[in-house]
């Protein structure tokens, strides 16, 4: 499947229909929130028990997991790919660069839903939690995203 042919709406609809506990994080989440940032990939944070569910849901899009579920849980992440690239975080918790432990279950409990059209929802972390995920790595692009998220949080609340 060529990248330009990717059925993005169908992809998110399939994830929602599957019931997989999956949060869109990374720059695509920022795009949905209204920030036009450049990004190539999709980043999901998935409950570690829902790997098989997600993989089955996105199989019709020719997205194939790079490792099996056992190995994905051992590594804490895996990739779904064809011409698209979906980074899937499956760790139960991740530490920020300044030592805060961020737990999937907490983010899932506080999640927000965004309707991307009349029928399809995407789950994202609350703004303050999305900001936490931007402290998983100390990259310049994360810093730039943090600063923009701070403006959003100031305007909309966390």
């Amino acid at each position: 499947m060529r990248g330009s042919d990717f059925d993005e709406l169908g992809f998110f609809a399939a994830i929602e229909a599957s019931g997989a506990r999956s949060l869109l994080i990374g720059r695509r989440a920022l795009v949905l929130l209204g920030l036009p940032v450049l990004t190539a990939d999709y980043d999901l944070w998935l409950h570690a028990d829902d790997i098989a569910v997600l993989n089955a849901a996105v199989a019709p899009f020719d997205l194939v997991a790079t490792v099996d579920a056992v190995e994905a849980r051992r590594r804490g992440r895996y990739v779904l790919q064809n011409d698209e690239h979906v980074d899937v975080l499956v760790a139960r918790s991740v530490s920020t660069v300044d030592g805060e432990s961020v737990t999937f279950d907490d983010l899932w409990a506080r999640r927000a839903e965004l309707w991307i059209d009349d029928h399809v929802r995407v789950m994202i972390p609350a703004l303050a939690d999305l900001r936490r995920t931007k402290r998983f790595a100390a990259r310049p692009k994360d810093l730039a995203d943090l600063r923009m998220l701070d403006v959003l949080i100031a305007e909309r609340g966390s």
Partner: protein, 78 residues
């Protein structure tokens, strides 16, 4: 007269991407992340959000924009 910007070449884009993706010194990152927003940052970000959300009111339109923007960027040659 405004100088026309030259599109980045493949090597230049790889260098820029690496710069943007390579982790910074953690203490520096934390210090910068905690610094108060400047009035200029706030104004620029608000302007960006207003433009983007008015031009692309729905999520699916924003996602489609992001895909087009990436394709344009990745295809732009020297």
């Amino acid at each position: 007269m405004t100088e026309r910007l030259r599109p980045a070449g493949l090597e230049e884009r790889a260098r820029l991407k690496a710069m943007y993706d390579v982790p910074m010194d953690v203490a520096e990152f934390v210090r910068c992340a905690a610094a108060p927003l400047t009035a200029e940052e706030i104004a620029e970000t608000r302007e960006l959000i207003t433009w983007f959300t008015q031009r692309y009111p729905t999520g699916v339109e924003r996602l489609a924009y992001a895909r087009r923007a990436w394709e344009r960027w990745s295809r732009s040659g020297p």
